[in-house]
Subunit: 322 residues, 5 copies
């Protein structure tokens, strides 16, 4: 709901109310539009010649991209972090589009949500280092972008921790909703990947110095950001592989444990069945069954069955079936 | 069965009967051929120099594509939506090819089915904003294309809803025809993907401003459509991944549930078998079986078997087999 | 075993015996070599300067390709259709290489088997439309190629029908050799794919008008063929996906049905086992078993076991195990 | 252990001892170094300016490749065939690097093992066709390369035969080490593929005529070899697919057969269990069991159990469980 | 903690304390910074104009890469070897970034850990061959790089040995933590692959001679390193395939062994159950059971049951169920 315009000159930072005057003033101008009202937005658009389609893209949060216009280059990136969901206690990936319009000596930042990177760079200018602005709108935009991309590392660290936790739990014991967790991670990696690939493409143009607004001495900084995004893409692929691998191990462990149970139980059954047959034999009612009259036949039978059990157990052990 | 020609000038919209005259008239001409008869088609082809192979492509509904001809550029896209099938109550993906021939100051639209986007743009011109035509045939073609591509989002939303429904049902309980539903979704995603990839290629030429008929100020609009198609391609890939994942989880749940049943039943069998052995022992007919004569032997035996059951149940619990 | 040479002029079609004369004659020449003898082949090669390596390629039926020579462009494509195998009643994919040598005003077609497309174009020239030749050797070659590529659609339709039949049978019941059928389809799709990819590359050069022998007005026709091949490549990928999917569903159904059987049988066993235990109890020979003397003990026991069965059945039903 | 130098002129073949003189002589020179001693190698290197890194590459048998040097182009390819292993009777893939250094009018071949292709081309020159050398060092190198690549077909044929044998055995019966054979084939295909891809890249430069030593009239021959390698790459991919498919079918058949056995056995158990229950009932010792006294009760019971078995068998048949 | 500067001239090696003087001195300068203090680092940066972002990249150990600066080219590679972990006896992949800044006649090497390759090249210069430096900073950098890349082969050999060990154990017997080992290997291959791909890209620029600091005669050496990295990438892909294959075979063997056990045990049960039924029959208490009174009925029954067992065993053998 606020639009602020500041201009940096050697004399320091001046705040302007009139956007057009701010843009025209000598020095680097930063017009910061945070969730602007339609009127405020119209003022920004009029002052800087921003195309309605670009504004629409920021509103809709489409894929990150770079687009060159006559008087400026438009960079759309996405701030992403895990925030606790509104309805659940679970963490949810929350993405917030950030539009950066880099002109010759002016920068417009446009967001519709509270984006940490914008505020952080603003504070850095106010409190510590006004020369950030002094190094030009392309350098200021780099600082915002660098902050956003650094936050991706925090995101990926979070995902890595969860994968490691999952791997630990697979080894220890099979928790029944582990598969759910693994699928959550896989889904988030998919989302992050969908975000990183176009960001990589969008930044690569700046790293090559394609837009005229990016000065030779700033290119190196965008190249640094580009390296980071490429590394993040790498990480995502590695984590996807780890998550898939975890899933396979989990499913295998699960089916293995079921098999193990059935195997042991079947062994038990197989030992008891022959014994039941033996006692059945001596339960038959034939008139002539000489053994029945022998004095210690009962005890011998019990002993024999005990021995049979032991032999079977030994045999199963030998065959690695127990 | 109808071919209509309208021409836009500052004076407004005029309807022509003679196609050649309409094309020759000053101002932007839109010749709209909806399921034309052979004679009507011949008239359109003669007036605008349209190649029979291009017409054939619209008729056959081949892959979306762009083709440049001497006097115009031919854009073939496909309107796609779910419509209730003729024989079943199921929704079916219904695709309808749309040919757009963009000339210097004229546009021919050719369809063989009722295409919503064509009618919607026509109405927009009539009722609200005749200047759509005033911005040129390339802008008018963009409006048709934009409508068609926006409808793809509805299509993908529909698919997403169904995937979410499937995911919900997997968690709750295993419905036996869920696999069928998942395979339907996978098949539809395959169909949509087959449609989006060539559309992306076809639109990219317009977004780069390759055809001479696309003016510099219209390029941005085609770039916007291009962005949307790229985003849709992304969505399709994500949905395919989700659908595959759903399928794996479903199959695993199914096999897990069968295993669960067999495991529990096997446990039951394993508890009963040793008991049956015990009662078999005391059913033997040996003459000398001292226990048989003891006063509370029967009750002790029953008690012993009860204890044995409890111990086995406790052991199975301990071993996580129950 | 025959080589025929015909020349088209405005006066009509003339047949020549002397190949060199035919080639030199004003008008478009088509030398058609069907399974030529070595001598006939030498005559063709001498008359048109065809390279032995190209002839060898047709003989060996190597991958479809385009190769430019000094005086002509060589296009190697493959006629493919299902024919009943020599030893079995099964359909077999039968491929027959076709060499087309397109010169400035002459065309040589070289085949070693009976190829339908060659005969069909020849007949079209004779009976209906001699102007096919009049439109040049590049157009005549297009006609042959178009026929061959159209036949691929028949091939793919056949495969689609079989996949649909397989899908139908999977739903109905599990036929034991369905997997065999699915693997046949997969193998054939592999073969067709191996054929389509290089055909696509070979035709794309003609569609771009690379060879000097392809005139500007013929390019469009090759582009049309190219579109068809691209669409066929698409279809093959889709069918491969469907076949893989069918296979997974079949395997799952099979394993599911086995599981189902074992589940039900295990349930039966689990109901009978406890009852067997009960009758075992009353088969014991203890001297003091008060129940044995009760008047209706036997009937009560039978009734009790009946009730126990019913309860177990109800419980299994409840637990969805039956 | 031998280095021989021959020079072809119209007068015929001359053998030289002095390598430098051979290279300087008018006519095409072939210096053939077979497993040279360090001294011999130094002589070859000095005479022709061959780089030590290239020699090292031949020694180490690195990936096939082309490298252009100032005075010559270096082509490294690999002769590959199945030879009986030293320790086992199994066939093993034996690869032998071949270095070909193609100069303006000289060729050096360098091998450290006995390579059949080198000997075969040498014999062809001696006995049949000295003009092979007369067509230049690039053509002679082509002849060696062609022979090596042709041998790959033999290799692939061998693999195909084994895949077919495996497929046949899968249908007939499950041999327990079939999986081992399939994995051997898969491993060999992996090895052949690793060899073919870089060979394809290495030959493609020659087929395009990139090296200055390859004359226009020889390009076609390298193109022919290139075609063959591309076809072999195709074959390898197809065979890999077939081998994977075989493996899946085998694993499925195996698990199916186990399931089948368990199913039948379970059926047997399920028929016997209820009968055992029945005989248990009449083994109970209740004082009042009226049936026990009936005259034909025993025979009726036996009959009843016979009938029950028949009904169960019929029911299982009906349910397709037998 | 040390920074040393040496300069090579024809007179030999001189050690400098003043870095700027060393760099300015005639001859090739190597400034070797091993884990420098901030002050030392500042001195190096001032002397050679090294960008802070590049130093940061070495510190953070980002992906290997090449970056061209005004006065030098920056090559970042990673030394990697297995070292025993600090907390466990297991080997762990330990990666150590190495920054090489190649100037016109100077080289800066920057590491934060002890890197073997740096020390080895330094020793080679001191003891054996001072001319290494004499061949220029690009050649000296090559020597370091070559050593690092050669160590990758040792790494891959180690992995290969472990895969072979795993394969051997799969055939012999199923060790329960084999899956763990296989997953360790897969994870390490993932790590090595993540390292090799960017190394390959980084080296390719040097192999093509892109950086102005790389002289024509040094290109060949970088090409050699490039070949090695390409071969290593190949090896990694092959090993990944082998590891995946091992995993599949292991899982299959495991499930097969469980199936085998259950099959045999079920066979045992199936033989005993019918016998138990028979003895149950003669345990019934019917008054009229003529067989009971026959003299050798008991012995005949035992014999009959023995025969029945033999027949069943024979039948199971016949059916391949045993
Ligand atoms: Mg987004
Ligand atoms: Mg950063
Ligand atoms: Mg961590
Ligand atoms: Mg969750
Ligand atoms: Mg960096
Ligand atoms: Mg940084
Ligand atoms: Mg379509
Ligand atoms: Mg839209
Ligand atoms: Mg939705
Ligand atoms: Mg359905
Ligand atoms: Mg947009
Ligand atoms: Mg829009
Ligand atoms: Mg073929
Ligand atoms: Mg056609
Ligand atoms: Mg059909
Ligand atoms: Mg068949
Ligand atoms: Mg067409
Ligand atoms: Mg057509
Ligand atoms: Mg050959
Ligand atoms: Mg050949
Ligand atoms: Mg064969
Ligand atoms: Mg073997
Ligand atoms: Mg050939
Ligand atoms: Mg050949
Ligand atoms: Mg690294
Ligand atoms: Mg590290
Ligand atoms: Mg090396
Ligand atoms: Mg080894
Ligand atoms: Mg471990
Ligand atoms: Mg080398
Ligand atoms: Mg080396």
């Amino acid at each position: 709901m606020t639009v602020t315009a500041i201009v940096y000159t050697d004399a320091g930072i001046t705040t302007y109310d009139d956007l057009a005057a701010a843009k025209a003033a000598r020095g680097t101008t930063w017009i910061r539009a945070d969730d602007p009202t339609p009127d405020e937005l119209a003022a920004v658009r009029d002052a800087c010649g921003i195309h309605p389609l670009a504004v629409e893209d920021v509103e809709n949060g489409v894929r990150p991209k770079t687009e060159e216009f006559d008087t400026h280059t438009f960079l759309l990136v996405t701030d992403a972090r895990f925030r606790s969901g509104e309805t659940t206690f679970d963490q949810e990936l929350d993405t917030r589009p950030v539009g950066l319009f880099v002109g010759e000596d002016w920068l417009v930042s446009l967001t519709y949500d509270d984006v940490h990177a914008i505020g952080a760079v603003r504070e850095a200018i106010d409190r510590e280092d006004a020369r950030i602005l002094g190094r030009g709108p392309d350098f200021t935009a780099y600082r915002v972008l660098d902050r956003i991309v650094d936050d991706y590392f925090a995101l990926l660290d979070d995902i890595e921790d969860r994968i490691e936790a999952i791997e630990g739990e697979i080894v220890d014991a099979a928790r029944s909703d582990l598969l759910d967790d693994i699928n959550d991670v896989r889904r988030e990696l998919l989302a992050v990947r969908k975000l990183l690939w176009p960001t990589r493409d969008a930044v690569s143009g700046f790293a090559r110095g394609d837009p005229p607004e990016v000065r030779a001495e700033t290119e190196k900084y965008y190249r640094d950001v580009y390296d980071h995004v490429v590394q993040q893409v790498d990480l995502v692929e590695t984590y996807r592989d780890l998550a898939s691998s975890s899933r396979d191990i989990y499913l295998n462990a699960l089916s293995q444990s079921t098999n193990e149970v059935m195997k042991r139980l079947t062994v038990v059954a197989t030992i008891v069945l022959p014994l039941t047959f033996v006692v059945g034999v001596y339960g038959m009612n034939f008139e002539t069954m000489p053994e029945l009259g022998w004095p210690y036949a009962y005890h011998a039978t019990l002993l024999g069955m005990g021995l049979l059990s032991l032999i079977l157990v030994w045999y199963f052990r030998e065959q690695d079936w127990l």
